[in-house]
Structures are given as structure tokens and as C-alpha cells.
């Protein structure tokens, strides 16, 4: 049988239904016979509901975020050439966006993209 302190540190995941196997069985068996841990479970259920409700109330994403993602991903990838390594490399890519083909070259430094050039509809930038 697990001790109260061992059970209590698992109760947040017990109320989430996120314990498996022996842990789930042990916690359920302990809680069934321990009034103090039952109170802890009840408090945790309330806390969980409060936290979920509060976070759900946070205002969601505006559509402009997708617009910025869309600008940077540039449609269906047709071809991509990678040269170099994770530390320093060069990527040349061509995409298909509604009937036209933007081409973009990026310098890659430590996995981060730094745009060198981009040929888009209406000229380069």
C-alpha cells in the first residue's frame, strides 16, 4: 500500500485519468480507504475545473496570425534543395501558389532561417 504522500503527488494525474496500471490501481485503492486523500481528490477536482475554465476564457487567435504563417510557408512545395549542415547551410525552394511559382533562398544558421531573397508575384523582395 502506498503512503499518503506518495499518493498525493499522483492525485493531479489521477483526477485527469492519466495514471496507468499499478499506479492507477494503487491510488484508487488508497483513496477508497483514506479520508484525508479523498479530501485532496475533491480539492483537486475543483482546482482542475477552475484552471480549465480560466484558460478557456483567454481570447483566441486572430486570423492575421494565419495570414503571417501563410506568407512564410508560401503554398505547395514543388522542390527544395538543402546544402550544408545544421550549423550553416543554404536552402533554395520553389512552391506553387495558385498558379504561380515563388522561389526563395534562405541562409540557415543553427537551424534558423534567414531569408536571402524571394521572388514573388510582382517582383523580388
Amino acid at each position: 500500500m502506498r503512503r499518503c504522500d506518495e499518493v498525493r503527488e499522483l492525485i493531479p494525474w489521477y483526477v485527469e485519468g492519466n495514471l496507468e496500471g499499478d499506479e492507477a490501481r494503487d491510488v484508487a485503492a488508497h483513496v477508497a480507504t483514506c479520508a484525508a486523500c479523498v479530501r485532496d481528490v475533491a480539492e483537486m477536482v475543483r482546482l482542475r475545473a477552475d484552471v480549465r475554465d480560466a484558460i478557456r476564457g483567454i481570447e483566441g487567435l486572430s486570423e492575421k496570425v494565419w495570414g503571417r504563417v501563410r506568407e512564410r510557408t508560401g503554398g505547395r512545395r514543388l522542390a527544395q534543395l538543402d546544402v550544408g549542415s545544421f550549423v550553416l547551410g543554404f536552402r533554395l525552394g520553389a512552391s506553387m501558389v495558385r498558379g504561380w511559382v515563388p522561389v526563395r533562398g534562405d541562409l540557415q544558421v543553427l537551424g534558423r532561417n534567414i531569408k536571402l531573397f524571394e521572388r514573388r508575384k510582382g517582383g523580388s523582395r
Binding site: 503527488e9 484558460i55 481570447e59 510557408t73 503554398g75
Partner: protein, 180 residues
Amino acid sequence: MAAWNDESAGAEEREDRRLLERVSRGDEAALRGLYDRFGERILRYVYTLLHNRHLAEEVVQETMVAAWNGAGRFGGRSKVSTWLFGIARHRAMDLLRREIRGERVPDVVLTIPDPAPAVERREHVLSALSGLPDDQREVVFLTFYEGLSYKEIAATLEIPEGTVKSRMYHAKRKLAEALT
């Protein structure tokens, strides 16, 4: 790439993997699907870390672009959500470091649009969450909002499982004090 069609994964996870596989082939509609499934979850996660709407939105954007560029490297060893939240967390930490160097972006507090009486309680809870250290708040979010197990949280944050339990233990004590 063998894990794209892992039959042991749940229906949600299989759908996430199908979308990511299409993203790896350059399918922008699939990227939009991934954005619809994860964008707001990532926003809320990052907001609990950064308390800044501009930065949180920037991290969502960076995470989606990283998914577009790196979908082909998803190894299938974790859930798609764990992979995306890991990317988001790294981006958020990068932004925090930039902020510490003085490149601060003006803060805009996310508002709560719902005019119902429950707003007051929500604000009280958010305020209590804000009072937690960042590492504890993150564990509370991943446990109660994302529904991750402590093992999944340990994998996402790259910390020992005991540390996850300890952070949650301290967080729940502080939240209980703040909310009674």
C-alpha cells in the same frame, strides 16, 4: 517515418499524424488543419509562459512555420502534440532570452471576452496562476489544460518525472492558498 500510421495511437493522434504527413509533402491545407487543431492550444500554453499576446502569437507563427519546414523530420517517437509543444517551448524560451537582453515587445494582456459573472472567478484564477513561478505554472497548464501525464510532461520539458511531481505539488499548495 514508420510511425505515421501507428495503429496503437488514438484516433486524434492518428489524425494529427495524417495531417503532419501531408504537411511534410507540402500540403498547405493540411498545415491549416494543424493550425486549427493546435494554434489556440499553443497560444494559451505560451501565454501562460510569457504573459504577452504579441509574443505568444509570434510563437504560434514560428511553431507552424517550423512544423512546415520540419514535418519530414518528425520521428513518431512522441505524440504530435508533444512535438509541437516542444517546438513552441523552445521558441518561447528564445523570445524570453531576447527580452532579457532588452529587446522587449510591449505587453498586451489577453482579454476575456465573455461578459458573464463567471469572468470574475476566471480573473481570480488567472491571477493566482500568474503568481506561480513559470516552471510550476507550465506543469499546471500541461496537466489540467492539455491533459498530459507526468511522463509526457517530463518528456516535453526534458526534466525528470520527479521534478514534474514536485513542481505540481508546490503549485497546488500555492493555488489552494490563493483561491480560498
